[in-house]
Point group: C2
């Protein structure tokens, strides 16, 4: 069983509005509400891969109850620890008329939080509920019990308000004590402290790696691979056993105990990049428990990331896309080091 930890799940609410009146009153033509958060995408992806998965995390209030009900309908096994505060929401507005609409659309840039290609997207992401020490201790107890039957754990996403930046580090130490390898996908201080606790894999994206390194890691249009490799090595030196940087259309760069690797997908895929990193994290955990060597592990991860971009909704992919992407990925070991 793979345990997926999602401490800060969200109810993702999306409003499609034919032509947004900013500063006015809008009546959305379509409303979607589904459970979200990076850990949920990872769990959904592993479930779709046929892996035995258990989603763990924190959920509270009516929003938490809504997430649990939706998870139940989706068939993804979950055991969420109840908290007193209400689980967070994210709210995304898709403006159908944005392409030719407001003059500042270009200046504002495109949020990539949802529904890519459908028009101008604006996201409002709540930070997450207050979690008490007692509630986190309760979660930790349930997590320790679940680890007894686990072959790997994935820790993914942001931490809710009130949890210390070392929360993931604590959970990785608990997993190490139970001899369960951990895959960590988060950002900032939680990533840095988590890496120091010695997880099997950390999976930053380019932004997260740049933010940790404190310097730009791109050159011209794409990532500066030598600089990315140096930053990945730094993060390994910090304690992570392997670092897999996800670089969007440029694929993956991995710094591992078995050397440095690159995996490049085939032709770039148009679609929704939200959740592609979660698909990569899911595939890395899957490859880990299947005992795949690094080249195969990365091939599957890059392919699943590409297949996820082609799917309209984060946390989903088509098996046909995955299969065809798999044959297009080019993996090589980097001899320059």
């Amino acid at each position: 069983m793979i345990v997926v930890v999602c401490l800060n799940p969200a109810l993702d609410i999306t409003h499609h509005v034919p032509a947004v009146s900013w500063g006015g009153v809008n009546r959305p033509s379509a409303v979607y509400a589904r459970p979200g958060g990076k850990g949920l995408n990872v769990a959904r992806t592993l479930h779709a891969l046929g892996a035995d998965v258990l989603l763990m995390g924190l959920a509270g209030g009516p929003t938490g109850a809504g997430i649990e009900a939706a998870l139940d309908r989706s068939g993804v096994p979950a055991a969420l620890t109840p908290i007193a505060a209400d689980t967070r929401r994210t709210f995304t507005v898709v403006d159908g008329a944005a392409a030719g609409g407001r003059g500042d659309a270009a200046a504002g840039g495109r949020g990539d939080a949802a529904a890519g290609g459908r028009g101008d997207v604006t996201a409002f992401n709540e930070a997450g509920p207050e979690v008490s020490e007692r509630e986190f201790a309760e979660f930790r107890g349930q997590y320790e019990k679940a680890l007894a039957g686990a072959s790997a754990v994935v820790l993914s996403g942001s931490l809710p308000t009130g949890l210390p930046a070392g929360a993931y580090a604590t959970l990785i130490e608990v997993a190490r004590a139970a001899c369960v390898p951990a895959v960590l996908d988060t950002h900032g201080e939680a990533l840095l402290r988590g890496a120091a606790a010695g997880p099997a894999i950390v999976k930053p994206n380019l932004d997260e790696l740049e933010s940790l390194a404190g310097r730009r890691l791109s050159a011209g249009d794409g990532p500066d691979l030598a600089a990315v490799a140096a930053a990945a090595d730094q993060l390994r030196a910090f304690g992570a056993q392997a670092v897999v940087a996800s670089l969007g259309a440029d694929g993956l760069l991995a710094a591992t105990g078995d050397g440095r690797w690159q995996a490049r997908p085939g032709a770039p895929v148009a679609g929704n990049a939200t959740g592609a990193g979660d698909a990569v994290a899911a595939a890395l955990a899957h490859g880990l428990v299947l005992g795949r060597p690094w080249d195969e592990r990365l091939r599957h991860a890059a392919a699943l990331g590409a297949a996820s971009v082609a799917a309209p909704v984060a946390g989903e992919f088509s098996h046909a896309h995955y299969a065809s992407a798999l044959s297009a990925v080019a993996v090589h070991r980097d001899e320059v080091s």
Copy 2:
């Protein structure tokens, strides 16, 4: 007991964002979620006036459960009939930097849906859940039972998807059969058909009356009182026993069986106009059950409307404001007819 019917309650979610990035990803600095909908404001106001009130309506899904939990905490007695679909949300973004921000802020106009005066406000209002015939029949049964102990009923707000435009008319007929006078505050066809069912009072605002009349009822800066009176008479002829038009800072104009009345508040009040019409409807129902004559009924309604504008949140008012507004209201019977 006054029964307040709110068939389409909402969870009102408000995000305060220091400087909104339209087309980007925003992290709100403050998040508020409270039960809303016109009927809820009426019930809260009557409860604060010390009236014996029962809020009835429809609630479903996790959002409905959240509304019930919040009502329970607020102490407003409620008996909501469960429905299968999820209760609607409204989502309001308050842009702290709007004053000097986007170039199109002026063109977009200001939504008055929330938090007046706090900056640029954009609202996204969901239409409401599908309600089945069986669910509405279940509600109607509970409503009939509650009417046995009721001295008045207030029917307020929009109808959720799936309910016919004649739903309020049906509920008014049921109330008439039980000899319970009804106050109706809604818009469009539901108002027209409701008025035909013979409620004691209908309370349109200027926009709603203009929309029914199919013509402008204002002249220059304010309402054209002769035109408003003619439109109110028309709505009375349609079946309503009395029509009270709420005209914002211009107060109230009433066409009743006891003649035509005007009630003007004192100096204009700065603040949040959302919910002022609901305060007026609450005061009209309160005056009705207390047996106040029209002049006193309108004096209280105009004063409570003004006190509601001074309060920061819809459905609330300060008793001190109410008392001082009461002495400032000028009521007169219109002899020209």
